[in-house]
């Protein structure tokens, strides 16, 4: 079996461990970065749209089961996020979007799609201002996630220079 098909499974466990144990310490008013999404985006750009969509669905389902969330909610949102990130895959685009700061923009877009779909299933309250809800539930976590995703770009470069 090719390593690229197994790698996401090996990556998933440490990423979820950090997401559930370390990330709460860096939460700002319950807003936390979504490391699982960053991994999904990375695999989606690296290996293509179908691979990213399936990785997103698998990660989402496993995270739903582990974290006690509504089973299917993260699966749906991460499937779409993986699909969105897949648009930035391809032989010529891969280098451009994976190893530059454009990666953070792709993460931002995918995180927005992820957060909006997830919020739709968790906060359906017609008394809430839709724009405010969009800002609080989707935009803030997405921005935080995309800021953290800079590490994915910076760390390999720093290693190369060292």
């Amino acid at each position: 079996m090719k390593l690229k098909y197994v790698l996401p499974l090996f990556v998933f466990i440490p990423v979820v461990l950090i997401q559930l144990t370390v990330i709460p310490f860096v939460a700002i008013q319950e807003v936390v970065p979504n490391l699982i999404l960053i991994a999904v985006v990375y695999f989606s750009i690296s290996n293509g749209q179908i691979f990213g969509t399936i990785t997103g669905a698998s990660y989402g389902l496993l995270f739903d089961l582990i974290s006690g969330n509504l089973v299917g909610s993260h699966m749906l949102s991460k499937t779409v996020a993986g699909f969105v990130a897949g648009y930035f895959s391809g032989e010529t685009r891969r280098e451009k979007y994976l190893y530059t700061y454009s990666f953070t923009l792709v993460v931002l877009l995918s995180a927005l799609a992820d957060a909006m779909i997830f919020s739709f299933f968790s906060v359906i309250d017609f008394n809430t201002n839709f724009l405010m809800a969009l800002f609080n539930h989707a935009l803030l976590p997405s921005i935080y996630t995309s800021i953290v995703s800079i590490l994915v770009v910076v760390i390999p470069y720093k290693r190369a220079f060292d």
């Binding site: 466990i13 709460p24 509504l70 919020s119 906060v123 809430t128």
Partner: protein
């Protein structure tokens, strides 16, 4: 036919995969109450929580678990007793000392530690290192020495997942300790609120909010928070009461599980009453 399908697949395979996975996700969303799904979830989080608990301890250097555990338990028991005393004091005043209430209620508390937190703005859950083996059951209240933290949602052999009060799926009946007015409290994604409170209800800033005995989930008074703001709704006849919780879910590490469930017999009786033809 095969050629046609092959062409469709080649041209739209990304969309076909997406549609299949979306349909799968949606069908799973409708199966959340299925016992099989709940069983799989209990096994999954139970297994993973074992790893998480070790990992969490490594990073959670601030806690001095063993030394603090006994003190926290005493604190929690005192908080419960204080809450009960406040309740009894108010009731006694109202009944002008004519009513004698026997303080026969003891609160069995199980100390537990949070081993992981799944934080999002709307769906906060925590995993606790006590499960079915210790007698924990879904529906039991989780509290700290400051106040209510959440409700047990599901259990495995050694671990449990609790919905915190900052979870949009948890709605509780609470009351104003001062004037005994009840209301439904929920997390709206940004703040804890008591919804649809008539403007004639006398709520003031700083009033203590506790769980109500009419609640089918938590039938004992547990402190929840204080009134931090009173917002008038657009209709002009209802208020939205903002609550500042006593316990901050983000920072809580050690909790207690109150070994008490809502009275099934009472709930069934009430349901039968409402359902009778």
């Amino acid at each position: 036919m095969f050629k046609l399908l092959s062409n469709v697949w080649n041209q739209f395979k990304e969309y076909v995969v997406l549609v299949i996975l979306v349909i799968l996700s949606l069908s799973l969303l409708t199966q959340n109450n299925n016992p099989q799904v709940q069983k799989v979830r209990a096994v999954a989080f139970g297994s993973f929580a074992t790893i998480t608990s070790v990992f969490y301890d490594l990073f959670n250097i601030t806690q001095l678990k063993n030394e603090n555990s006994a003190l926290r338990q005493v604190n929690a028991e005192l908080m419960m007793q204080l809450s009960m005393l406040r309740e009894q004091g108010i009731l006694n005043r109202e009944l002008k000392g004519m009513l004698e209430l026997k303080d026969t209620i003891s609160f069995p508390l199980i100390p537990a530690t949070i081993v992981s937190k799944s934080l999002s703005i709307t769906q906060n859950t925590v995993t606790i290192n006590k499960g079915i083996r210790e007698g924990i059951k879904p529906g039991m209240p989780v509290l700290s020495y400051r106040g209510l933290v959440g409700i047990i949602q599901s259990c495995s052999e050694n671990f449990s997942i609790a919905r915190t009060i900052k979870n949009v799926d948890l709605k509780l009946t609470v009351k104003n300790e001062k004037n005994r007015l009840n209301g439904i409290m929920k997390w709206d994604g940004e703040k804890l609120v008591i919804v649809d409170v008539p403007r004639t209800f006398d709520f003031d800033l700083g009033d203590r909010i506790i769980t109500s005995e009419i609640s089918s989930i938590i039938p004992v008074p547990i402190p929840v928070g204080i009134v931090s703001n009173i917002e008038e709704e657009k209709t002009g006849i209802l208020n939205l009461i903002h609550i500042k919780p006593f316990e901050e879910v983000l920072s809580v590490e050690n909790v207690f599980i109150l070994m008490m469930l809502g009275n099934v017999e009472k709930n069934n009786l009430e349901l039968n009453f409402y359902n009778r033809k």
